[in-house]
Every structure is written in structure tokens, then in C-alpha cells.
């Protein structure tokens, strides 16, 4: 067991956990934020994407201890149901989600994508979402959502 201290969505989380605890399990089980999902075992589906110190990572492929001292942002930390983040709003307006399971990871990836490229082309968006798998939407409306989200975010 080891003491892990990091911030999740601005709140200090100080917990004693097994040293082999994955960041995603820390977020879901220890902190109790279940918006971050697990959809595969091989670091490919992207349902678990969160931001660690501002960059997107797959929380299933990082140990909680590797995030020691970091600022972690999850889907719960970017907007609220009263005030959605512009990217969340864009997904809503463009029907960028169906079953919702991949959505948190998709939105977190999209936000980082736009933070690096203010007005990405369709090809850049498709390329930039390589690490997020969606089985429902065929990506068509996700691409539209990210384009709209980029505009809203001031691109």
C-alpha cells in the first residue's frame, strides 16, 4: 500500500491505495467518479481518457502513483449540467453521442485536440480521435461536434 496524493477536478485526493492501482480505478473506485469508463484492456478504446496536468492520457494505462502530485481533470470536472463546457454543448447540439459510453473519453480527447489546434480540419479531427473508439455514431456527428466545439472554444 502507498499514500497517493493528487488533485482531481481541483480537489485534493489523499488516499492509501495498492501500489498497483491504476489511475482509472483510483478515479472510479477510490474517488467515486464513474464518468471515466473502461472499455478495453489494451489501451485503445479511449473511454478512460482524462487530462493529467493538461494533457490527455488513458487512465487505464497509468498507475495512480504516476500521477502523484498532478492535477487530474475528468469529465465531471469540465462543466456542469447547468453550464456545459463548449465541447459538451457541441456534442449535444450535433448529436455527437448515442449510448454515451465512449462520450466522456471522446470529449476529453476533443478538448485537448482543440487546445493544440484551434480550428482543425475534418481530416485532422479524424486523425486526432484515433485513440477513441465509438461503436454507435459512425463518427460523422462526432466530427461535426468537434468542429462546432472548436468554434465555440474560440478557434
Amino acid at each position: 500500500m502507498a499514500e497517493v496524493s493528487l488533485k482531481v477536478n481541483g480537489k485534493v485526493e489523499n488516499h492509501e491505495v495498492g501500489e498497483n492501482t491504476l489511475l482509472v480505478d483510483f478515479i472510479r473506485e477510490t474517488v467515486g467518479l464513474t464518468g471515466t469508463h473502461v472499455g478495453c484492456d489494451t489501451s485503445q478504446c479511449g473511454a478512460c481518457v482524462v487530462h493529467v496536468d493538461g494533457v490527455s492520457v488513458k487512465a487505464c494505462t497509468m498507475l495512480a502513483m504516476q500521477a502523484e502530485g498532478s492535477e487530474v481533470t475528468t469529465i465531471e470536472g469540465i462543466g456542469s449540467s447547468e453550464k456545459l463546457h463548449p465541447m459538451q454543448e457541441a456534442f449535444h447540439e450535433n448529436h455527437g453521442l448515442q449510448c454515451g459510453f465512449c462520450t466522456p473519453g471522446m470529449v476529453m480527447s476533443a478538448i485537448e485536440l482543440v487546445s493544440k489546434n484551434k480550428s482543425p480540419s475534418e481530416a485532422e479531427i479524424r486523425d486526432g480521435l484515433e485513440g477513441n473508439i465509438c461503436r454507435c455514431t459512425g463518427y460523422h456527428n462526432i466530427v461535426k461536434s468537434v468542429q462546432a466545439g472548436a468554434e465555440k472554444m474560440g478557434g
Binding site: T42, C136, Y139
Partner: protein, 789 residues
Amino acid sequence: MSEGIGASVKRKEDKKFLTGKGKYTDDINRPGQVYAHFVRSDVAHANIKSINTKAASQAAGVVAVYIGEDVAADGIGGPICGWVVPNRDGSATHEPPHPLLAQGKVRFVGDAIAVVIAESVEQAKSASELVEVDYEELPAVANLETASSGAEIHEGMKENRYFDWELGDEAATDKALQSAAKVVKLSVRNNRLIPNAMEPRSALAEYDDLGGSYTLHTTSQNPHLARLILAAFMFQIPESKLRVIAPDVGGGFGSKIYVYIEEAVCIWSSKKINRPVKWTADRTQSFLTDAHGRDHINNVQLALDESNKIIGLRVDTVCNLGSYLSAFAVAVPTYLHGTLLSGLYDIPTIYTNVKGMATTTAPVDAYRGAGRPEATYLLERTMDAAAREVGMDQAEFRRLNFIPKDAFPYQTAVALQYDTGDYEPNLDKAMEMIDYKSFEARRSEASKRGKYRGIGVSSYIEACGLAPSAVAGALGGRVGGWESASVRVDPTGTVTVFSGAHSHGQGHATTFSQIVSERLGIPNANVEFVHGDSDKTPFGMGTYGSRSLAVGGVALSKALDKVVEKSKKIAAHLMEASAEDVEFKDGKFTVAGTDKETAFGDVALAAYVPHNYPLETLEPGLEETAFYDPMNFTYPAGTHIAEVEVDPATGVVEIVDWAACDDFGNLINPMIVEGQVHGGIAQGIGQALLENAHYDENGQLLTASYMDYCMPRADDLPSFKVECTNTPCTHNDLGVKGCGEAGAIASPPALINAIINALSPLGVSDMSMPATPETVWRAIQNAQARAAE
């Protein structure tokens, strides 16, 4: 903007998913819960000589370890088969038992042998490694072509065949083939797919020893059906003692229709240890044990007369149903496949024979489209080959053979009667959308860049809204095909809809609210939607086969009819008029020829505060339920056209354009319909280009992770052009047909036909799925080698 029928209302359910507040099964935890982990077979086929669980039982954190004998001792049965068909010789489908945990034998890699229950997932996994299983290996039966001569998988089941079924007039069809001016022959394989809903299956079972009742949270498309099967057929407990909740479910695509052994083991063990038991699949377990889809080999013979009109069709199919018969495994290749073989063509005689085979692979069952994609694929590939062989344009050859629009209702040669349809406008529109007539110019432009450009057409029909119960029953179905809905009007005029359908991405909360909003004239925001809980909703059949709206939506409409009818009586009383004179529109009751008016809310209040109310003749309250059993299937149809460019140096296929024009009847929410079409097309493209479940000759699944099973990603796909025409369904109140599966049905042949079209100048006339870069490259190499000879 209107919030009623036909409006692209933004989805109500979005916010919870967008903010991470969705509650999927694995997000739910119960006090004292323990975790199940299954010990699964590493071998495809073996007798189990012994299982030693001693060390595992003593491992840290372990609460219990159970094997097949423990289940058998409690008399718990396995999953049952929901549909059977007669064999050609009159005998019945062979239905072998499917034990919850292996009893003496394993039949596929992933077959569960034991369950270890522990305080943590990691402890359960560690202990599982200590379970020793001694196998006597038997030869795997991994190959569909040779399955009939393989080792016996189920005791007493001859030639590993579950059934041998036929439909249609064999003599007439063979006669048509003999007398034909031309017979087009084709053999196609429908590749095996793994559904891959993004949320892995999960179950959380809890036993209440005070009431002797169970609660199961599970990833199900149809919680009531799961409850019925679990309670009545597997556990033999009073159905009322089991509550099944399917909370937010992260996609299904068919794979979450069935009751799986893991859910049952969780229920059973939750009582044995009197603690809540949770199980969540990791992705590899999903690959190994979720019911797979497709896996057919079809031999097709199409008879044409001198004028290129179709005069007969014969299809001989062998399909792989895997190690155990899953719930609807039998229906998929028979009544959901054989009955669709007429497509949208006027074919006077059709005969089909389907042999359903067992292999030592995962069970195969419905996957988006279920039987209809296989039918459409073989038919549209054959139409394409026929057009090429007779030298006609692929679109015009189809047009020539379409059922004319004045021929409806049209009785096909394979049992179905199409109520309505008009196929040419879809074809014309799709051709216009993709600029079909200028294609040859684009082909020559591409060839200057060293690319082969091709265009492929696929015109499809599907039978949705499964199904009229009497028809299903007559054809071997063991469940009803109706759906239910309850409408509870609250005293203040807000409404809660309780539906037996289940939404796992389809957006029912939005579309069903739109129907209410349209009919009762209340804002969408005043409608709540409840589904997925057997304690809350009326008994329902759930969601599959593009049925939610066409059956569940119509049930809602019927319940709303009852609400309106009763409301009119209340309004009549309030307005001191006769009920026959009361009109209801835009949320207001009026009396014809007067200025009397009362609002829907006032009527609702009167129903619950019946101070001024006709209590002698009318019950108080305003809550109505309807069960709707459809009179016929609905028949969405349409045309998809794909345009591709092939890079001959690598075999890479790039999809450069996609046009889809579908007739889904009336649309409730066009935005959601388009989203369904997009998703369906993406899965169809996945099948045609990328996805394939690959078992090696020993029955090992080599594509058991996203490292090897190729899921479509954003950069594999183009954007799609999607439009609709509308011939309303004639036999349901909403005129709706269903749209969930269409994309997956239409798209694979469009794409494969486009690739063949691109390579046809080289003499390529066949292409298998998935058309991977190497497959395409080899076809080009072989064609070039043939040309050089």
C-alpha cells in the same frame, strides 16, 4: 420550434452522459459486494477429467469457488433457445443443454468452468489462477466448411448440425433455373463479426433474504425477457421474486439481447453467500463470450429470362452457430434471412435451404441486422454480378427487376407480404446525391492518378418491428412480438411514460417524449421516460430488430389514445358538454361550435382531485397502458451507393463518397434517424473492410483484443450523405418503419460492389470480406497475372 413528431429535437438524455453522470451497471456498487471472476477454458474442445479448487478456496480474500456440479446440485438450468425451426425431414431443431458452468466438457475457448468469488477483483483473479483443470483434449471443430465431419460436439447430435431447414418451392425454383436464359452463380461468405458494444457486459446481483427476492442490475436490451427466462426457465422461482434492472446500457447491437451464464451465476451465488455479487467483463472476455454475428456461406443461383428479368432464385446456406444455441440463433439465419431473399425484386419463385452448424467457437446470434444483412449481401452481390454478366448498368438492372410501386401489397415467394413501398425514388435520389451519371469521368480522372475508382450500388429491404406474435409463434418463435407502454398523467399535467422497450443509445427518452408532446400538446420537458426496470415498467419485449418505435412507439400512441379518450370524457364533464362534441388539439379541449375551452392540465387535475367529476361513470385518475401487437412487419427499404478509390500498389481502399437514401416511413426525429443510419453504415463498412473474427484451426480466437480485431475508427470512415423518402407504413398508427439496422444491412454489398467495380477493368469479379489491403492487393496481382498469361 415544434417539439413534436418530425422535429429534430436535441436529446434529453445527453446531459447526463456528457457530464459523466450516466449510471452503467459497473458504476453501481452495493454494500458488502463481492466480485466474481470466471475460470474459462483455454482449449476449444475437451472433456474435463478433474477440477481442483482446493488451493483457490483457501486463497486470500476468497469467499467461494463453485463449479458445474454445484450448479447442477441446485437444479439451475442453462439459457434456453427462444426460437426453433422444423427440419426438412420433419424432425425438430436439436437443442443441446447449455450448462451455466461446464459439466464434464468444454466446447469453446472461453467456456466457463468455475467461478471464484472474492473480496476484490484482483483477489478473485489471483485465486482463479490456482484452480487446476485437467483436460482430455478433443479435436477442435473450428472450420464451418468441415464441421459436419468434425468431432461430435454435443452428444447424439448428428454431423454437428442443429437444424436443416428449407423455405420456398424447390421444384418450381429448380425448373426456373433449368429453363433460364442465363443462370448467375455466386458463392459468398459473410464474415464472422464480434459486436463490440463499447460497454462490456456486466452484472450485479443481490439477494434479499427477508423477502426471498433477487435484484439483478445487468447490461440488457430487454430486462423483462431476461427476468422471464431467468425466473421461469433457469431458476424456477416466482417471476415476481426477481427484479431485473438494465440501467444505462452502453450499446448492444444484439449482443445484449440474450441471457448469459454470467448473469445467472451472479444471481445464484448471491443467494448462496448472501452478499451482492458483481461481475464485469474485460474486453478479452467480451471477445471470447459475447454472442458473435454473421458467419454464413451462401451458394446462390439466380435465373434470368431473355429480357434480363429474374425468374427464380435458389440459395443454399451453411451457417455457423457455434458451441451452444443462443436464444435467437435459430431465427437469424432462417426466418430473418430466408424470408428476405426476395429483396425488393419481383421474383416469382425462390427456394432456400439453411443448415445450422455447431462448431467449437463462441455462440453466434443476432448482430445489428441479424440475418437481413446476410440476405442483402448475397442478393446484392448477385445482382451486381448478374448486371455485369448481362452487360447492363448495375442501377438499371435493379430498376428493371424492382417490384413496381403499383404492385403493393406484394406477396413474396418467401412468406412475407410487403404492405407498401416505392423503390425507384430511393435509387434515383441516391444516384443524384452521388452524381452517378458523371462517374465515368471521375473514374478516368482517377486512373490518371494511378488509382482505380469504382462505384457500387446496394438496394435493400428489411423486415422490422419484430413481429406479429401469431406469425412468430407459427414459425417457431417462443416469445411474443408485442410491446407495451404506460402513460401516467400527473395531477399537474406532466407525464411519465413507462416503456417496455429499452434505450441503449437510441434516444427513446427524446423520441417517445416527442410523441407525447405531439399528442397531448405539452412541452417535451414535461415528459419523463422510464424504462429498463422490471419493477417499474409494464412487461415489455425490449429493443432489437428496429422495433422500438414501430412496436413500442405505437404502443405508446395507443396508450395516448386511451388517455385522450378518457380526458375528453372528463373535459366534457367540466365543460358540461357531450363527449362526442369535445375536440382536443394543441393541449386544449374545446366544444365544437362554442367558445368553451379547458386545458389539458385542468383535466389532469380534475382526474386526481375529482370534486367536480363523473365518478358514477368514470374512474378517477389518468393513467393508461396499451399493449400493441403489430399486424405485419414493417418494410424499410432504400439504396446506398458507395464510391471508392483503390491504390493498386498497396490494395488500400479509400471510401471517397457515400450516398444513402432510405425510406423509413414517417420520422419522429430526423436527427436521431440520421445518427442511426451513420452508425449502421459504419458497422457495415467495418464488416466489409476491417472486421473479422479469426479462429485458428485449434479453435483459438486470434482476434481477442483491439490489437487484432479491427474496429472502425474515425480516420477509417468518410462523412456520409444521408437522405430519406417516405412511404408511410400502412398498418401502424404512426406510419413508422424502423431505422436502426438499415445502415448495417445496406452498406457491405455497396462497398464490395464498388471495389469490384473499380477492379473490373482488370477482370476482377469477386472480392471477399473483409476486403483488407492484402486481399485487394492479391486480387489485383492475380488479375494481372491472369492477364499476362
